[in-house]
């Protein structure tokens, strides 16, 4: 796992870790904490074409529902099946085992750096 300093972020509280042409995507610790205990995660199908800024899934906690957005345009190449059966992993390790999807992309949009994202949630 890359350190949080090296990840890219969206204003919608997703993080993105680009490795070559594949980006691993999850939600930030701030988002997981705001949601509370996560009890249900709905992720897109492998092979789905996704467009940056559109809804690709849902994350439910006991108290609320969150929309998951694609931070980048591309194709879903892998989803984290483990979080579907153990959604609490997103709370306990949002930047590691709680990752959500991997998206193959050709071009990264403008994203936030760690300091910029941190300023948003301060």
């Amino acid at each position: 796992m890359t350190s949080e300093n090296d990840l890219k972020y969206t204003a919608e509280h997703e993080w993105l870790d680009a490795d070559g042409s594949v980006a691993t995507v999850g939600i930030t610790a701030y988002a997981a904490n705001q949601l509370g205990d996560i009890v249900y995660v709905d992720l897109p199908a492998v092979g789905a074409a996704v467009e940056a800024g559109t809804t690709i899934g849902e994350i439910e906690s006991t108290k609320s529902v969150g929309d998951l957005y694609a931070p980048v345009t591309g194709t879903v190449v892998e989803v984290n099946e483990a979080v579907a059966s153990a959604p609490e992993t997103v709370n306990s390790d949002p930047l590691g085992d709680g990752w959500l999807v991997k998206i193959e992309f050709t071009e990264l949009p403008a994203l936030l750096g760690f300091d910029e994202y941190k300023a948003l949630t301060a």
Partner: protein
Amino acid sequence: MTFRSPDLAGLDAAAAGVEGPRISPLHDAHAAAGATFTDFAGWQMPVRYTSDLAEHHAVRTAAGLFDLSHMGEIFVVGPGAADALDNAVTGRMSALAVDQAKYTLMLFRTGGVLDDLIVYRTGEDRFLVVANAGNRAAVADVLRERVEGFDAVVEDETDDIALIAIQGPRSTEIVEDVESLTVEGTTLADALAALRYYRVLHATFDGLPVLIARTGYTGEIGYEIFVAPDKVRALWDSLLETGAGAGLVPAGLAARDTLRLEAGMPLYGHELGLDVLPRQAGLGRAVVTALPDGSDRAFAGRDGVVADTPPEPDSLLADRVLVGLASEGRRAGRAGYAVLGATGERVGVVTSGALSPTLGHPIAMAYVDAEVSRVGTELAIDVRGSALPATVIALPFYKKTAPIAAPAGPSATA
């Protein structure tokens, strides 16, 4: 991601008639414990400390400690206080013994619910009315109107009284062990053992009077303790320290909401409002329309209740009745989601819903058409476009296996 259904957001500061967020006298304690805060009826209150599920389970299996300092404490005092309250609310407060409490409703003239309240008779001529935070100003104003002509005065002492609740099966053993918490003439343990549900006990903490009420909003045994704001931190810390070995943890509003939902207790702004008649919410028993001799009892809102017409005909709740809904899986219906009938037609609306932490499946309270309100009726909830099957079941969803003497109605509301 974005946060779509902040179910707990409740009422905003403007609606509550409060300027800016207000801070509980326990704010520093919450912040030090790592709480996440939410605006609730104009107050910054802890929504959770670490995990709402862990806090919820702690209350069901051990004990949880809640800060309820946002709730309104309004006294009605004077030789005519009992009669004035009889006129102001739906129950006969004059029939309460001293140190007895009652769940009751305050109605608008249409019969719609202005607030649900717990009234504690703390003296012959002294009644403590506990109102929801968001309704505090309205309740105080309406009480002032309704005591006119009676020999009684209304004193809003919300700012001078803090309120905390300890709830859960191990509450009693924790409270009785708190040093500096004493009662006159007996041990606190004996006094608590003799304290029945919906009764209050006058005690002292560190030399100052506190009121210990056996009431709650979780479906568990527990106590609500009224204390001066400058003593509440010491009491809070003492309870946490005393109860640490018994599993007591501070619990936030998120856990409070799932606990009360499982216990089938209404929350004002969700299951109750000006658009709801008590009967629709299953609270007809809280409305006393006849005196013991059979004659009509006068009280504010009586005409509306008797007319039994929708206070707000355009409301989604109009002409519908409150039911419990249970589903399978993990996706919960949330407040505002449509309830669908057999052919997909809209037959109601969800007012509260969550994946039940205790039961492990989704539960919801909803207002539905009377024709589809029978227990066992198969309905569906429109969960963001997919129809989630849901069955009408009897409330409450959760009941303690060793039941606490069941009273008429829930307790001090959120």
